[in-house]
Symmetry: C2
Subunit: 229 residues, 2 copies
DNA sequence: AAATATTTTTAGACTTGCCTAAAAATATAT
DNA sequence: ATATATTTTTAGGCAAGTCTAAAAATATTT
């Protein structure tokens, strides 16, 4: 382990990753987070999770009772959200300033999010113009840890004749993002639902009042839109 | 250790730091680099250096003979220069884009230089406009590892009546850099040597054809200038 | 050339984070 | 309620990188 002051005075790379993973699981499920779920999320083994969870518990970052799963403390949640904030700001930088495609930013941001410097993040935020959302439409938590909830709905929830602006994605995989990119289904595009096949659920949409396209149910269930009244 | 692909497929944080430190010692001295010098440079103990040096030797990054010091191989030098390149590009980003003062960029760049992504560095380089020098006037190695040598001389080498443009510093300490900043002695300023005291070697200079100032010999020995013919 | 001092290496141990395999606890099925 | 299956934890070990203290090699003095 490096003894660089920036890597020592707070939380390690690994600790931040655990906290972030637990935070995301907590968001999804509301139930107590169990060891196996964490192991799956960060691609490690349950035994390793038990070790780390004990350590995080001693540091008051989460509450842990044997065999009963974990729950982040206020502090743990703060650290997790801060890591998410850093991740999303870096993704925005990579996309908006360095012209990385939206499916390429995640892996690099996974590294950058662990750079330790509050001043760096503040200045990056300012440099980017205090963005509210990252390139995938996910909200960027504020300095204070507040996450502005957006009222996006799934494209699959739109009825025929309704329209919305593409504002985010549910599936963040590179494969899905590349697929969207290839079909011009990027953030900001306006979609009008014209037809929903009764037979195979394919959804016919019109993009930006121009070309029409058929979207699979897999696709429409993974696109978030801001509904136009 | 994280298993993130980006941290695994090449050289570790620590390995890169050793290589960079050895490279810099090699630049300064030309003699074989001994264990204690490395230990001092990266603030560790000689015993730790011996361990790491063995490891780097096995990986063909340097040549090592017991009790005889080390010498980087071609590969080791390449990795070191690449790390220097990354460091200086990040310093430039921090200074030019995020408005960090020139004495604040080093520590953050020490972290950023270990982010693993060739594409990131290429795009950062482009975003910055392919800068030739970092905020301290040090040359930024090219993708190919070539370092353009500049012909700067010490301010202390200028004779009375000669002038030069501040182009770099020898001492990189925050204390010195802050001192320069406070006295408007930043990159690009033009200095005309007007007087050199025979008694205490204080150098009287005129800055940008305007205000005059006395500089200590400690200061003039640590400023690099591009001499104006 | 011998004695002393310095430098470098070895030996053994520590920490973080990970692993496998076995044991213990909990959950589910009969 | 007992047996089976699953999940979780323990136990013991590994790798990277660090440390201290002692041993070995090299340098310097006398």
């Amino acid at each position: 382990m490096p003894k660089n002051i920036y890597f020592c005075y707070m939380y390690s790379f690994t600790e931040e990753n655990y906290l972030k993973a637990i935070y995301k699981l907590q968001e999804q499920s509301d139930l107590a987070i169990n060891t196996n779920a964490i192991a799956a999320a960060i691609q490690t083994k349950a035994a390793s999770v038990t070790d780390m969870v004990k350590k995080l518990s001693e540091k008051k970052l989460l509450n842990y009772e044997k065999y009963k799963g974990v729950e982040l403390t206020h502090l743990g949640k703060k650290v997790a959200i801060d890591t998410v904030r850093k991740h999303r700001l870096w993704e925005t930088f990579l996309h908006n300033k360095l012209n990385f495609a939206w499916d390429e930013v995640h892996d690099i941001a996974e590294q950058l999010e662990h750079i330790q410097s509050q001043e760096l993040i503040d200045k990056l935020d300012e440099f980017l113009g205090f963005p509210s959302h990252d390139p995938h439409g996910d909200p960027i938590p504020g300095r204070n840890g507040v996450i502005q909830q957006n009222n996006f709905i799934l494209l699959s929830e739109l009825e025929i004749g309704e329209s919305g602006i593409i504002s985010g994605v549910v599936n963040h995989s590179a494969l899905f993002l590349q697929h969207l990119e290839k079909n011009e289904l990027v953030l900001g595009k306006k979609l009008l639902v014209q037809e929903i096949s009764a037979f195979d659920q394919l959804v016919k949409v019109q993009i930006d009042d121009k070309k029409q396209q058929q979207l699979s149910s897999e696709v429409v269930r993974n696109i978030l839109v801001k509904k136009l009244s």
